[in-house]
């Protein structure tokens, strides 16, 4: 177990360095210039040149890259070019929002997927199974921004059950405001989880050891929780872990539709304005976070399935 963790930490370090290289190259080879975005299309060539110099953009790419690496290694993220505040304060302000949004989405996805998968698997081929499968198919095929708008129009603007966007003040208001957006994010993920869990439940239900356990005279509930669920959820937990990244991707869209000030929106705004410092730092932070989440999932899997740590 410890060896596994050590190996994983090394992996993370390598990943982060690779991500740093990639994001630097991507941002700098992308056409477009942060100075122009900042000064607009009325700026004189003279002030463009002055600003480029102030921002250090007139130095060679290599010099800029070394500086970037050095800054990252010493946790100096610099200032946002467009917003002119330290990147750290921006990330500090917004990261908790996105973490809350994606965590709520994960919890919701599991809460939706697990019971439905059980019902579908236990009544395999029945009408309940059919209905659940159709619903999951539909929610899987709808784009996130569309689901978001439909929920906004019906539940928020129409029935006034929820506010239209924003995050509110204080923890409980945050929970309330973030419910619809996290539901939006959760729906397609829950469909993926549902289908996977249903399949593995059916497989496990038909496995010899389950038949054996039942034959031994174990109570149905014990069989289901101890043997079926534990074995069936291994692949689903793996899947859930793998989807953390795409949840953050989905957050970019959800945060825009629901006017949520999280890192997803910060990322997209900063890419558009070529705010190198923000994009680079944020990518690093997200890469580290996602890697850490993978680590947690690996640990959970190792506990669920002793074969993993081997």
């Amino acid at each position: 177990m410890l060896a596994l963790l050590a190996r994983r930490v090394l992996h993370i370090a390598a990943t982060v360095v690779l991500v740093a290289l990639l994001i630097f190259a991507l941002m700098h080879f992308l056409p477009g210039d942060p100075v122009l975005m900042l000064l607009g299309d009325r700026a004189s060539d003279e002030s463009i040149a002055r600003m480029r110099h102030e921002m250090g953009l007139d130095r060679t790419m290599l010099e800029q890259f070394w500086e970037f690496l050095w800054h990252m290694a010493t946790f100096r993220f610099g200032d946002s070019v467009t917003m002119r505040v330290p990147v750290v304060s921006l990330i500090k302000e917004r990261l908790p929002v996105t973490i809350m949004l994606t965590s709520m989405a994960m919890v919701l996805a599991v809460l939706i997927a697990a019971p439905l998968a059980f019902i579908a698997a236990l009544r395999q081929g029945g009408w309940a199974d059919a209905v659940i499968r159709v619903i999951s198919q539909v929610s899987l095929s709808m784009p996130v921004f569309y689901i978001g708008l439909v929920l906004l129009i019906t539940l928020a603007a129409g029935l006034r059950l929820f506010p239209v966007g924003g995050i509110g003040d204080g923890f409980f208001e945050n929970l309330y405001y973030l419910f619809l957006p996290s539901l939006t994010l959760a729906l397609s993920l829950s469909a993926i989880l549902l289908r996977n869990l249903r399949e593995s439940l059916i497989d496990v239900l038909h496995a010899d050891y389950v038949g054996f356990a039942t034959a031994k005279g174990l109570a149905r509930r014990t069989v289901l929780t101890r043997h079926v669920l534990r074995n069936a959820c291994i692949s689903t937990v793996t899947l859930l872990g793998l989807h953390v990244g795409s949840l953050i991707g989905g957050a970019v869209i959800t945060e825009s539709v629901f006017a949520i000030p999280g890192v997803g929106r910060l990322m997209i705004d900063s890419i558009y304005s070529r705010d190198y410092a923000v994009v680079q730092s944020l990518t690093m932070v997200i890469a580290i976070l996602v890697s850490l989440v993978f680590l947690v999932f690996d640990a959970v899997l190792a506990m669920l399935d002793p074969r993993v740590s081997a």
Binding site: D33, M37, L90, L149, S256, P261
Partner: protein
């Protein structure tokens, strides 16, 4: 007798209405949904509309632009005296004026603010508006004397423009930082200004709150101080659909940038007030008029006849319908018609396919040619405009290719003159024709907005007009500039469009002036 009593009744009604405006409700928070957030709240260090458009609420100016934009009114300065030769202007400051923290606005603050705003190194992109100032002096406790290098017909309007906002020298200089720019950054985080409101909280790209400045000098009609509102809360909601939903759900009071396609629907909503504020804004297509393009190919747009032909081949009314659902008007000059000295006898280049064909044939392009236009990826407006244009121009054999680019790439290519045609939008920042002319028609600034078009006579006229104090002569110079520009057609003239703003019925007296500035000083919420 009957008539007289009717008249008296009307007069009484008029009085009633007048007294109603006095009975403006005080207090409350106005919630305003914005499309984009501000970036930098320093009046001199920005060129972004999102900063400029709220700047006057935070920083007051010596003079204020009149409602019609054609003249100025007293602001922080009570009286203005221009010397006979136009080379010295004396301002007498209003007594007892204070910054939002209660400290007095001294003449030294005025001098410092104007000195900072007028030099290139510290004054940012708009320093040129004040470049005719030679020095700013103070006399006694209440006089500020502006000495001019030369006579400048626009100086008074420039002193009513956002970048001349008066700032507290001591607080600014006390802000942490080694350079002026660093200090500006630190100061602009929590700026203390001289305007009717002061910014009290700001979560970037999420929300900003401005509360009323209790020390603001201007009294309302009832004698009590303005502004009426306790605070204005800006929510940043980039998504158009969400912004409209938020308004319809009653969670916001005002929303800017209503998509034109939604204007009719919102007009019909009994709870809302859908307003199209006249805007000093033009929508056009910029052309690259250089003989060859960046990749070395020959550019048909170098020929004035081709540019005129394309203008004739453009059905402006159709574009107005497609993009603004009828809210726009065809361009009569390169500058918006609300600009002082704008000249235009009628819509330029009325739709005429036969004329277009003839001009193209004369230029040797009877069988047409291909042209590529840069469009902003994801912009519904650009897509609508250009597909309409594609269809219109196909009638004269011109094949329009659309190149979708995101904003940063498009701007970089445009700035390097690496384009053939692009969609363009211009909004005036000052009530004078000199800003737009210096950028769009005057070659030395930036090759006539990167079109590469140059008319030496226009350049000369512009330079003369910059020192012309005689209003008739200046108007004549501008008339000639606009006529010559229209004739040469370095752009495809399209339309002027208003600012679409929707608000709850209870919101009264909010204005967005033609320059785009959002003015909350007289705004109140009806009970």
């Amino acid at each position: 007798m009957k008539l007289r009593s009717k008249g008296m009744l009307l007069a009484a009604l008029g009085l009633l209405c007048a007294s109603q405006t006095w009975a403006a409700n005080r207090g409350g928070t106005l919630v305003f949904a914005r499309q984009v957030d501000s970036q930098f709240l320093d009046p001199t260090q920005t060129a972004q509309n999102a900063d400029i458009w709220i700047s006057l609420n935070l920083y007051d100016t010596l003079l204020l632009a009149s409602a019609d934009g054609k003249s100025t009114e007293p602001g922080l300065a009570l009286a203005t005296k221009v010397s006979d030769d136009g080379k010295s202007i004396t301002f007498t400051m209003r007594p007892g004026i204070k910054f939002a923290d209660g400290s007095p606005i001294a003449v030294s603050d005025v001098k410092w603010s104007l000195d900072r705003a007028r030099v290139k190194e510290t004054g940012g992109e708009f320093a040129f508006l004040l470049s005719s100032i030679a020095s700013v002096e103070t006399k006694g406790e209440d006089s500020v004397i502006v000495q001019m290098k030369h006579r400048d017909p626009t100086i008074l309007q420039a002193l009513a423009t956002f970048n001349s906002g008066i700032m507290p020298e001591k607080l600014f200089m006390a802000a942490p930082g080694d350079t002026m720019l660093a200090k500006a950054k630190a100061f602009a985080e929590h700026p203390i200004g001289s305007g009717p409101f002061v910014m009290t909280s700001w979560k970037r790209n999420a929300e900003m709150v401005m509360t009323r400045n209790p020390y603001y000098w201007k009294p309302a009609a009832d004698g009590k101080p303005l502004p009426y509102l306790d605070s204005v809360k800006f929510l940043i909601i980039p998504d158009d659909a969400t912004r409209m939903l938020k308004l319809k759900a009653g969670e916001v009071d005002i929303t800017e940038f209503v998509p034109y396609s939604r204007v009719t629907e919102l007009k019909a909503d009994p709870k809302l007030n859908m307003v199209l504020f006249p805007a000093a804004q033009v929508n056009y297509f910029a052309l690259n008029t250089r003989p060859t393009l960046k990749d070395g190919t020959k550019n048909p747009l170098n020929d004035v006849r081709v540019r005129q032909a394309l203008n004739y081949a453009t059905d402006k009314e159709a574009i107005i319908q497609v993009v603004s659902y009828g809210a726009g008007t065809p361009q009569k000059s390169f500058m918006p018609m609300s600009t002082p000295l704008a000249f235009g006898e009628g819509p330029l280049y009325p739709y005429d396919v036969a004329k277009a064909k003839k001009l193209l044939a004369d230029a040797g392009f009877a069988s047409g040619f291909e042209i590529t236009c840069m469009a902003l990826a994801g912009s519904a407006d650009d897509a609508a405009k250009l597909s309409a244009l594609q269809q219109m121009w196909s009638q004269v054999g011109v094949k329009l290719k659309i190149e979708q680019l995101e904003a940063a790439t498009r701007l970089a290519r445009y700035n390097a003159a690496d384009f053939q045609m692009r969609t363009s939008l211009w909004t005036n920042d000052i009530n004078d024709p000199n800003e737009i002319t210096s950028i769009i028609a005057y070659y030395p600034t930036r090759q006539s907005a990167r079109t590469g078009w140059q008319d030496k006579r226009v350049d000369e006229l512009f330079e003369i007009s910059q020192e012309e104090l005689n209003p008739e002569k200046r108007a004549a110079q501008y008339r000639e500039i606009q006529q010559r520009y229209a004739e040469a057609a370095p752009i495809i003239f399209a339309m002027e469009v208003p600012y679409p703003v929707a608000m709850q019925k209870k919101v009264k007296d909010f204005v967005q002036i033609p320059l785009g500035n959002n003015i909350f000083i007289d705004t109140y919420l009806d009970k």
